[in-house]
């Protein structure tokens, strides 16, 4: 019997091996509940969406305020600012 045949025969015998029993149920649920490994239960998803929409709205408002302030600023203020630069 050559190496390959012997290996195949041993592999076939190894398939009959009894594998030690594992019970990971509690461990997995504990990890998921603790939020490790970026686990997020589905019940948290609406809050994530709400947070994302709120953040986007806040950013848009901030941008609008900056642009509006820039466009509608008082011409007198601009003159004063120009004088203060010159001084």
């Amino acid at each position: 019997m050559n190496v390959e045949e012997r290996f195949k025969a041993l592999a076939a015998r190894a398939r009959d091996e009894t594998v030690p029993a594992v019970d990971v149920t509690a461990g997995v649920l504990a990890i998921l509940s603790a939020g490790k490994g970026q686990a997020t239960f589905a019940s948290e998803r609406p809050w994530m969406w709400l947070a994302a929409v709120s953040s986007a709205a806040a950013a848009a408002c901030a941008l609008f305020v900056i642009v509006a302030n820039y466009m509608w600023s008082d011409p007198l203020t601009e003159i004063v600012q120009a004088i203060s630069w010159a001084m």
């Binding site: 390959e4 009894t18 997995v28």
Partner: protein
């Protein structure tokens, strides 16, 4: 926006519900063998538990783990025979499966999907511990002793240990392909499915791995003489 999401979720859960019902109705319980009936019942149970798990039902996911951990444990025993590491790997599979549960489309049985994740996690473990792989001592004495007996006379656990030690001498890719082809008895197509490689790649890798195995024996023989 929230309305749109909840409508989409409702539609998706209705579709899954119909799918489960179809699986149940498609099976004529009086005409199929018991094993096949159990498998179909398990598949329907899996789909229902997956649907509930996606909605955050911890008990449904607990049932999925309890149903599949033996199968996953068996796969990962080929990747690590250290009980502590083995348990950690099995745990990682179910955590990864939960995090990617939305990607499961139900086209293949859930057990096949888990087997793919288990293979990737086991392979990752080998790659991380590649530097230490030669520490596992393999002697020709053990091999000769086993070779002197007929395979059926060899203890299954000893055979498993010996094959594990032998494969540990090879690089992870060769080890993976030989494990899947000979220990897991996967076909070329199944190996390709489990590894994500093409079928041609699996054939080439198997050929190379077998050659390396032969060379390994020659090298060990030279070292001992």
């Amino acid at each position: 926006m929230v309305m749109a999401i909840s409508q989409a979720q409702m539609l998706s859960s209705r579709t899954e519900g119909l799918l489960v019902e179809l699986v149940w109705r498609a099976t004529d319980w009086r005409s199929v063998p018991q094993g096949k009936a159990n498998a179909t019942a398990d598949a329907a149970g899996d789909l229902e538990d997956i649907r509930q798990s996606r909605h955050g039902d911890g008990d449904a996911y607990r049932r999925l783990i309890e149903r599949h951990q033996k199968h996953v444990g068996r796969i990962l025993w080929r990747f690590s025979r250290d009980r502590r590491v083995h348990e950690e790997l099995v745990q990682d599979v179910f955590v990864q499966a939960y995090l990617n549960l939305d990607d499961y489309r139900g086209r293949a049985p859930f057990a096949h999907w888990l087997a793919r994740i288990a293979t990737h996690i086991g392979y990752g473990h080998w790659r991380r511990s590649e530097r230490r792989r030669r520490i596992e001592h393999f002697s020709l004495e053990q091999w000769d002793q086993a070779a002197g007996e007929t395979p059926l006379q060899t203890d299954a656990s000893e055979a498993g240990e010996l094959v594990h030690k032998l494969l540990a001498q090879l690089p992870p890719r060769d080890r993976l392909v030989l494990t899947l082809r000979y220990l897991e008895e996967c076909s070329i197509a199944e190996t390709a499915e489990r590894t994500g490689w093409t079928q041609t790649m699996v054939k080439v890798q198997t050929f190379r791995a077998k050659k390396k195995l032969e060379r390994l024996f020659q090298r060990i023989e030279k070292e001992t003489t």
